[in-house]
């Protein structure tokens, strides 16, 4: 019984989320007790579904860019010719992780103006680190025996990289991507303070008009998205790990 319970819960959460996004009106009675003086209980300055899609699009663009750059960089610094830069890139990663996301966002505004761009940059920069670090870990902790065997079988450097190293490191890389996506989903809401169209808009509108129902629905949609995506990526990761025989 325990095996299917989590999947059932996830399916229920997904169904609930979709229902809420497609037809938020159904849930109005649930949120009504939270608002005072006949304020609207459901966000009325835009469609929740559109905002959710825009939110997801922002996160997706930033994450894909981050994956491409971070994985490429990590592969480069683990090759013999890039080894010179390994300590430097490590310190860079450490430095980057101490930068608060709001600071990144705030500092990107003067360079890029308001709207979606600074948010994308902040998400991209913040998403780089977990992916880079995990790719590095994945590529540098491969069992030496496997590498020896690949070399012994006469594989070129290139073949080794794409047929042995990357596939073996994939579960760890995916774990980094998962972490990065979850952080980005939450951080994207802050983007609305600089006028990006994300679900943060709903939350901020709620904060400004003292409407808890808005805050709650914005927060819960993002939370539900994060949980579902996190679980989805975990499942892919588990499948990959099984295929890699780890």
């Amino acid at each position: 019984m325990r095996a299917w319970l989590p999947s059932l819960l996830r399916a229920a959460l997904l169904a609930f989320l979709l229902a809420f996004l497609v037809s938020p009106g159904w849930f109005e009675p649930l949120l009504k007790p939270l608002v005072q003086d006949n304020a609207p209980a459901i966000y009325n300055q835009g469609s929740l579904l559109t905002l959710t899609l825009l939110h997801l699009r922002t996160v997706a663009i930033a994450t894909i860019a981050a994956i491409v750059i971070a994985v490429t960089l990590a592969i480069l610094v683990t090759r013999p010719f890039g080894a010179e830069f390994l300590p430097l890139s490590r310190s860079l990663v450490n430095v980057g992780q101490t930068f608060p996301p709001v600071a990144v966002l705030a500092l990107a505004v003067p360079a890029l103006g308001f709207g979606e761009k600074p948010t994308l940059v902040a998400l991209f920069l913040y998403g780089l680190l977990p992916i880079f670090e995990n790719t590095l870990t994945g590529l540098t902790t491969l069992p030496p025996s496997v590498m020896e065997a690949a070399r012994g079988a006469g594989m070129t450097d290139r073949q080794r990289l794409f047929k042995v190293e990357v596939p073996l490191a994939m579960p760890v890389i995916l774990a980094g991507i998962r972490l990065s996506v979850v952080i980005s989903l939450a951080t994207a809401t802050i983007g609305s303070t600089v006028a990006a169209k994300t679900l943060g808009e709903v939350i901020i509108a709620g904060l400004q008009s003292n409407n808890i129902a808005f805050v709650l629905q914005g927060g819960l949609i993002v939370g539900a998205l994060a949980v579902l995506i996190y679980d989805g990526l975990s499942a892919i990761e588990a499948a990959m790990a099984r295929r890699a025989g780890l």
């Binding site: 430095v95 608060p100 709001v102 505004v109 979850v182 303070t193 943060g200 709620g206 904060l207």
Partner: protein, 379 residues
């Protein structure tokens, strides 16, 4: 080499400072030679060339560190000079702020310093001393008034008392919630370690909390805390209110729990079985084992959790400003609202400095608590 390119770009291509007739109009970019008196400009350019040469040639790490320190000091001094040079006398509206060239140079030399420090592998105490020296240097320049002409400090001059009030709040929020989460999280982690069935439930719940975006969590907490303030006698008197610092504190506390609890569990699970067996063999009680063996051995991992929490809290506390919780975020969001970027910097720069300092100090602490035989591995 990348650093040398950055230095070259920062020196030759990008503007060193921006001059604006007042606070919000677009600025006029000035290169190093245009922003400084001729002699000073030449000195700075020469210094940058020497620094770039030191970077390009394979020089010892110590020399590189020295070059980075000297260059950082130089650009810090010269940006102050720029402000006095560019601002017309008796003009209080004009603003001179560091431009992209300055930031690129700052970044390049900071990177160089970080890189050479990593290569030198100094002991943790030395790293903290370096941090203190850097901060002391910056403070000295601040006190000397050399930077007073810069726009950030003009923003500061108008808000000095508010600045320190918000700084106090920021630190109190970040440290207070850290302290609370350690007080609660450490015993909770130990409990989760001892009572197996509890572990998954507690960790999953805390994981779930982490997925709620921070501004939403701040907002959601307004309702229950407001209710408590109205309905529980005495709660309002000790500062529990719907908006303000209370929800921010609770939210930061909730976010902090996961790293603390999870790292305590992981740390305790990593205690070698033999160590525990031996302790039991010499007749130590459960309590003695916990405090004498398990916690000290798990300490580096627990401290890593605390480091994550502290750095994260310092960053998240900026968002508390959105719900009236104070902190440096006040300046950031005011600045965004007025499109006054100097004001944003006034909030963002101290936040970043705080986060860095906290990270360096805690990293040193972690290393001091790591038994010497694995020191090589963690470095």
């Amino acid at each position: 080499m990348v650093i040398a390119l950055l230095v070259a770009y920062g020196t030759l291509v990008a503007p060193f400072a921006t001059f604006r007739a007042n606070r919000i109009v677009p600025g006029e970019a000035k290169s190093i030679l245009a922003a400084l008196p001729v002699s000073a400009g030449v000195v700075l350019l020469g210094l940058m060339v020497v620094a770039a040469a030191i970077i390009l040639l394979k020089t010892p790490a110590l020399l590189r560190l020295a070059a980075a320190a000297v260059s950082l000091g130089a650009i810090a001094l010269f940006i102050g000079l720029t402000a006095t040079y560019l601002t017309p006398p008796e003009n209080t509206y004009a603003r001179v702020s560091p431009a992209s060239g300055f930031w690129v140079l700052l970044f390049a030399y900071a990177l160089l310093a970080a890189d050479s420090i990593t290569r030198l592998r100094p002991r943790p105490g030395v790293r903290v001393l370096l941090l203190i020296a850097t901060l002391a240097g910056a403070t000295a320049i601040l006190v000397s008034g050399l930077w007073d002409g810069l726009s950030i400090l003009k923003e500061y001059a108008g808000r000095a008392d508010v600045f320190w009030l918000e700084a106090g709040r920021h630190v109190a929020l970040a440290l207070g919630s850290l302290f609370a989460s350690v007080v609660v999280g450490l015993p909770l982690g130990i409990l989760c370690h001892r009572v197996e069935p509890l572990r998954a439930g507690v960790l999953n719940t805390l994981n779930l909390i982490q997925t709620i975006p921070s501004i939403a969590l701040f907002g959601i907490l307004i309702a229950p805390l407001g209710w408590i303030a109205v309905n529980v006698p005495g709660a309002a008197a000790i500062g529990i209110r719907g908006i303000g610092a209370a929800p921010a504190f609770v939210a930061l506390f909730l976010y902090s729990l996961l790293p603390v609890v999870a790292n305590t569990v992981v740390g305790l699970a990593g205690v070698p079985r033999e160590a525990n067996e031996a302790a039991r063999g010499i007749g130590m009680t459960d309590r003695q084992r916990l405090f004498g063996i398990e916690l000290p051995l798990a300490m580096p991992v627990i401290l890593t959790g605390i480091r994550i929490v502290l750095v994260q809290n310092i960053g998240l506390a900026t968002i508390a400003a959105l719900i009236g919780g104070g902190g440096f975020g006040v300046f950031v969001f005011q600045g965004i609202g007025q499109t006054a970027m100097d004001l944003v910097l006034l909030g963002a720069v101290p936040t970043v400095v705080l986060a860095f300092a906290a990270a360096i100090v805690l990293d040193a602490l972690i290393e001091m608590n790591t038994p010497s035989q694995n020191r090589g591995r963690t470095a």
